[in-house]
């Protein structure tokens, strides 16, 4: 079927504003945002590492550019993003295969959805807490002065 009428579609606004529909919507938004961010970092990291092939001076110049407080802050963000993306990704691999969602049944008023259960909410919180913990550990390594 031709489905080209975009009239009244929310578009990007729908995923840029995750605040209206609960924790799962926020986790969807964060998973995307962190995914895009990590892909950007991955490309940058491969490029940054390639300076190794041009000898010690090029490597030192690259380190000078990246091993700065700002560079460390970006790295911290990457640590947080990768931890959240991984932990939440594992939850999603189970969930998207129908695991941990409960069984279909006979819905009763007030019709709380069984799929949006405490397991999902705890999974999202665990991913957030792990990301924060990883960032703290990363900060201790990067800014710890070793």
């Amino acid at each position: 079927m031709e489905a080209t009428d975009r009239n009244n579609r929310e578009g990007l606004k729908a995923w840029l504003n995750p605040s209206r529909y609960g924790a799962e919507r926020i986790s969807y938004w964060l998973q995307r945002l962190t995914g895009v961010g990590l892909l950007g970092y991955f490309i940058g990291h491969v490029y940054e590492t390639s300076s190794l092939t041009q000898g010690p001076d090029a490597w030192a110049a690259m380190l000078e550019l990246t091993q700065t407080p700002m560079g460390h802050m970006i790295l911290l963000l990457v640590i947080g993003m990768s931890t959240f993306h991984s932990a939440n990704g594992i939850r999603l691999i189970f969930t998207e295969g129908g695991k941990g969602l409960g069984k279909p049944g006979r819905p009763d008023y007030p019709y709380d959805a069984v799929s949006l259960n405490y397991r999902q909410k705890s999974g999202i919180w665990i991913a957030l807490i792990l990301a924060a913990a990883a960032m703290l550990f990363g900060a201790s390594v990067l800014f710890g002065g070793e």
Binding site: G35, V36, L39, I93
Partner: protein, 116 residues
Amino acid sequence: MRESQIMKIHYVTGIAALIVVAVHIMMRLIMPYNMSLEYENVVANYHNVPYVLLLESILILIAIHGFNGLRVILLEMRQGRNWEGSITVLTIAAMIAIIGYGTRTILVANGLEMGQ
């Protein structure tokens, strides 16, 4: 290729990448962080064959997982035969390019003399 097969690959590469990246980060932490980034130490890493294989697998796994993720986002953003065809070709090309570029670094660094 069916979308369910692509998504199976997406999930498998995601989990595998998580494991190899964890090892990669551990390797940065077996000695003080700043020391691990010294030229000689980094080049020494590239002479360690198991570690080289680990780096190559990270490159391949994250390129596949990441660019497939990008393909999914771009497919959802716009629809149309030309756009969808271009997105598939471009993401596969980007995947190959980044694997090629990273592999070149690995091969060249592997050929560098230690302590150069």
